[in-house]
Amino acid sequence: MIGFAARRAASAVFVLFAISVLVFLIFFATPGVDPAARIAGRNASPETLAQVRAQFGLDEPLPVRYALMMKSLFWTQDLTSYVNRGTEVIPQVLQAVPVTLSLVLGAAVLWMVLGIVMGTLAAAWRGTAVDPVIVLLGVVGVSMPVYWLGEVVNLITQSRLHDSVFSWVPPLGYVPITESVGQWALHLLFPWLTLSVLYAGIYARVLRAELLGAMGEDYVRTARAKGVSERRILVKHALRCSLIPVVSLFGLDLGALVGGAALLTEVVFGLPGVGRLTFNALQNVDLPVIMGCVMYAAFFVVLANALVDLVYAVLDPRVRHA
C-alpha cells in the first residue's frame, strides 16, 4: 500500500513537470507574443525594447529562462506577470481560489443532490413515464454549451425580465462570503444553477445505470427473497453500492473544476476566479500567469486522480499490483 502510494506520488510529480515544460515551450514557440514590445508599448524605440528585454531576462537561453521561472514560481514565489507588471502571480491565483471554490462547491452540492434524486427516481420508476423524462432532462442539460446557457440566463435575468420577475437578481460579480453571506449566495445563485444543470444530468444517468445494474446483483435478490420491498432495496441497499462510482466521478470532476475548468461560466458571469484568470492570461499570452494557473489546475486534477486511485486501492486490493 505504501509502495503504491509512493509510486502514485512520484508519477504525479512527473506529470506536473511534463506539463510545465510543455506550456513553457508552447509559449516561446508562439509567434507574435514577444513580451518586450508589448511591455514597452507602442512606437517604442529599439533602445527601449532592448532594455526591457534585459530587464525581464528575455535574453537568456531557454533552459535558463525555464529554470528561473520555476524558481520564481515555487521557491522564491516572486514570479510576476508580464502584462500587469509588479503583480505577483501566486497571490493572484490564491486570491482567485475562494471565488472558484465558492462557485464549484456550491454547484457541486446542487448537482449531487439533483443528480442523486433524479437518478434514484428514474431507477425507481423505471418503466413509467418518469424515467425517460428524467433521462431526457438530463441529456438536454448535458447537451447545452455552457457559455450559451449562461448568456441566455443573463439575457433573461439581467435584461429582459430584470424589471419584473427578476428584479431581485443582483448585478453580475462576486461578493466575498466574509462581507455578506446573503449577497454572496445571491450573486452566485445563477452561476450555480447554470453549472449544475450541466452536471446533474450526467450524475443522474450514471447513478441510474449503476442502480439498474445493482438491482440484478445477488445481494439484492437475497433481499428480495427475504421480502424487502423494492423501494427499500433501492434506497437502502443498492444505492449505497452504486454511489461509489458516482463519488469517484465526483472527485475527478471536482478536481478539474477547482482547477479552472469552469472558466467559461466565470467569464460569462463576471466572477474573478481561477478560470477567468486563466482565460484572461491566455488572451494576453501572459506566460507567468498562465504557468501559475496551469500548474495549479494540473495539481488539482492530478491530486484528485491520485486520491481516487488511492481510495480504489483501499477498496479493491487487486488494483495495488496493477
Binding site: 532594455q51 507588471r85 486570491q95
Partner: protein, 572 residues
C-alpha cells in the same frame, strides 16, 4: 478595444506653441448630436454636486499604473485627475481642450531665442498625496526617471533633451544634469534641448512627463501606485478586480483650467465583465460608464431607448487596411489599387455602427485635419468624395497585376467590430480573385504582431488615433521611411512604405511648417495625394466615439485630447 493614443515621431512640427490646433474643427456633415460640451468647464465648482462614488467599468485592466510606463487611453483618462506635469492640456470640453496651459509651472515657460531652452518657475505650495512638497528636485528626478523605467516614448519624445542619448543607451549611468537643470533656490527648472522643437510643450503635457516624487522606485511601479498631485489618489489597485481612487487630502485647486477639483468622492473602475454585461449594468444603473465601445447590437437599443445617456463625439482618427508593400501580392501597386477600388467603405461603416458613427474616407488625412482636402482616387464614377466601390475595375486590376489566385491572410483583432469588418474584407477579396483567409488574433497582441515584418502579414485591419494636434502626425508617422523598422515589433509604418521622393517632400513640409503653416498644409495635401496614388493603405472610415453613461451622471464634458473628463462627472 480602443487603441492607445499614438504619438508623433516627427522631429519638428508645423504648429506653433499655443496655437489652438483646434483648427481641427469639429468635422463635416455628420448629423449626430454631439454633446461635446463646447462650453468650457463651469467657472465655478458646484459644491452641491460633490460626493458619491463614480462607478466605471472596463472589460480588463490596462497594465501598469505607473504614469511613466502606461501607454493606454484607459488609464490616461484617469491619470488626468491624478497627476500633473509642468504643463497640461486644458481640462475643458470642446475646442479649447487642445490648448496647453501651465500646471505645476506658474506660467508658460520662457523660451530662449534659439528655441532650445525652456525655463519654468515651479508653483509654490503644491503637495503630493503623502503630504510632501513638490520641489524642483522632484521635477529633475521625474525626467531622469523617464529613462530609468524605459518609458515607451523615451526614445521618441524626450530624446531631444541634452544627455538623453546617453541615458537611452545606458540608463544606469544616466546623467541629465545638463538637460534638466533644477535651481531649488530660485524655484526654477530649465530644460535644454539639443535642437528646437515646437512640439515640446505638448510632450510635456502628456502623462509620461508628469512629476512624481524623487524617491519613486527607478523601475516600473507596476501595481503600486505612486503619490499623486491631483484631486485623486489611488487607494487600491488589483488588476483582476478593480482600481479605486479616493480624494487626495492634500489637494487644493491652484488652476481651474489645468487641474480642476473633482466631484465624486470615490472613483472606482471595476474589471472583468463582458462588454454585453457592462452595457446592461449601465442600463440598470449598476454602473455609471463603460470604457469599451458598445457592441453593435446594443447600439440600436441605447441610441433609441437611452438616447439622452449617450454622447457621440467626433474624433480625428481613421480605420484602415494596411497592405504589406514588400511581399506578394501587395508588392504590386495594381493589387493595392484594386483593394482600394473594391472595398465597400459603406459596408465597413455599417459594421462599425452605421452612418451616424462613421463616415467613409479616401485620404490619409482625416476630414477637419489641417492639410485635408476632399479627394478620392478610388470611387466609382470619380469625384471628390467616395460614393461606391468599383468591383469590376478591381477585378481587372487584379488580373493585370498577375496576382490573381494568390493566398492572402487578413489579420485583425478578435473583438466584435474588427472581426466583422475583417470577415467582410475576406469576402470581398474572394470576390475579386484572391484566396483569402481571416486570422483574428487577440487584441492585446495584434497591434505588435502586424508591425513585425517577421510575421509576414500581408493585410491587416488597424486604426490610427491622433494624439496631440500636430499636422505631421498622420503622414510622416505612418508613411515615412524612418518609421519602418524591419524585424521589430515596433514599426509603425505597417505597410512598409518607403519612397525616397515622397520622403523628401515630407521633410520639406516639416521644415516649411516651422515658419509657414499654410504653405506646409498645402504641401501635406499634395503628399497625401501622392501617397494615395501608390496606395500603401486603404483608408476605410473616420469613426466617432460613443460614451454611454448611466441616468444619474451629469456634467459630461468631452476633451478632444483626453476624451471624457472623468473627474468632472457628478453623480448626485
Amino acid at each position: 478595444m480602443r487603441p492607445r493614443l499614438l504619438l508623433s515621431t516627427a522631429v519638428v512640427a508645423a504648429v506653433a506653441l499655443t496655437a489652438a490646433c483646434g483648427s481641427s474643427s469639429s468635422s463635416s456633415s455628420s448629423s449626430s448630436e454631439s454633446s461635446s460640451g463646447s462650453a468650457a468647464v463651469s467657472t465655478e465648482y458646484q459644491e452641491e454636486h460633490a460626493g458619491g462614488t463614480l462607478r466605471l467599468t472596463a472589460h480588463a485592466a490596462a497594465g501598469s499604473i505607473d504614469p511613466k510606463v502606461n501607454y493606454t487611453l484607459q488609464y490616461w483618462q484617469l491619470f488626468q485627475a491624478m497627476y500633473d506635469g509642468l504643463l497640461a492640456f486644458k481640462k475643458v470640453g470642446g475646442e479649447e481642450s487642445f490648448e496647453v496651459v501651465p500646471d505645476l509651472a506658474e506660467a508658460m515657460p520662457e523660451v530662449s531665442a534659439d528655441g532650445t531652452s525652456y525655463t519654468f518657475t515651479l508653483r509654490d505650495g503644491i503637495k503630493f498625496s503623502t503630504g510632501a512638497d513638490v520641489t524642483t528636485a522632484d521635477v529633475a528626478a521625474s525626467f531622469k526617471r523617464i529613462f530609468l523605467v524605459s518609458t515607451p516614448t523615451a526614445g521618441t519624445f524626450y530624446n531631444g533633451i541634452v544627455g538623453a542619448e546617453g541615458c537611452l543607451a545606458d540608463p544606469a549611468t544616466c546623467d541629465l544634469s545638463a538637460g534638466v537643470v533644477a535651481d531649488e533656490a530660485a524655484g526654477t527648472v530649465t530644460i535644454n534641448l539639443v535642437a528646437p522643437d515646437p512640439e515640446f510643450p505638448y510632450k510635456l503635457a502628456v502623462p509620461h512627463a508628469v512629476i512624481v516624487p524623487a524617491d519613486s522606485p527607478p523601475t516600473d511601479a507596476g501595481d503600486q501606485a505612486l503619490p499623486t498631485t491631483g484631486p485623486y489618489m489611488v487607494e487600491s489597485y488589483d488588476p483582476n478586480t478593480k482600481l479605486r481612487l479616493v480624494r487626495n487630502p492634500h489637494f487644493t485647486e491652484w488652476s481651474r483650467e489645468a487641474q480642476p477639483q473633482g466631484y465624486p468622492d470615490v472613483i472606482e473602475e471595476t474589471f472583468g465583465l463582458t462588454v454585453e454585461a457592462e452595457v446592461t449594468a449601465v442600463q440598470n444603473g449598476d454602473a455609471d460608464w463603460l470604457f469599451d465601445p458598445p457592441p453593435a447590437d446594443r447600439l440600436a437599443e441605447i441610441g433609441t431607448e437611452y438616447a439622452d445617456q449617450v454622447h457621440v463625439n467626433d474624433l480625428t482618427a481613421m480605420w484602415y487596411l494596411a497592405m504589406n508593400t514588400n511581399i506578394a501580392p501587395f508588392d504590386d501597386v495594381k493589387a493595392r489599387q484594386a483593394i482600394n477600388w473594391a472595398v465597400d467603405r459603406a459596408a465597413a461603416v455599417q459594421l462599425y455602427g452605421g452612418d451616424n458613427l462613421a463616415a467613409p474616407v479616401c485620404t490619409f488625412l482625416p476630414p477637419g485635419f489641417p492639410g485635408h482636402e476632399d479627394d478620392c482616387q478610388y470611387t466609382a464614377g470619380g469625384g471628390d468624395t467616395w460614393t461606391g466601390p468599383d468591383v469590376e475595375k478591381a477585378k481587372q486590376l487584379v488580373q493585370e497585376s498577375g496576382t490573381a489566385g494568390q493566398e492572402v491572410g487578413i489579420v485583425t483583432s478578435d473583438d466584435e467590430v474588427n472581426q466583422a469588418i475583417g470577415e467582410y474584407v475576406q469576402s470581398m477579396l474572394t470576390e475579386i480573385g484572391y484566396k483569402a483567409t481571416l486570422k483574428p488574433i487577440s487584441s492585446n497582441i495584434q497591434f505588435t504582431y502586424i508591425q513585425n515584418t517577421d510575421n509576414d502579414v500581408q493585410l491587416s485591419l488597424t486604426s490610427w488615433y491622433q494624439d496631440y494636434p500636430a499636422a505631421s502626425n498622420f503622414l510622416n508617422v505612418l508613411a515615412s521611411c524612418a518609421s519602418f523598422h524591419p524585424g521589430s515589433d515596433s514599426s509603425i509604418n505597417i505597410a512598409g512604405f518607403c519612397d525616397p521622393e515622397i520622403d523628401a517632400q515630407m521633410q520639406q513640409a516639416l521644415v516649411t511648417g516651422q515658419t509657414d503653416t499654410g504653405a506646409a498644409d498645402a504641401l501635406w495635401t499634395q503628399i497625401d495625394q501622392a501617397v494615395m496614388a501608390e496606395a500603401p493603405i486603404a483608408p476605410l472610415f473616420t469613426p466617432k466615439i460613443v460614451d454611454f453613461t448611466s441616468e444619474r451622471v451629469g456634467n459630461y464634458q468631452f476633451s478632444k485630447q483626453f476624451y471624457m473628463l472623468v473627474s468632472q462627472l457628478w453623480v448626485q
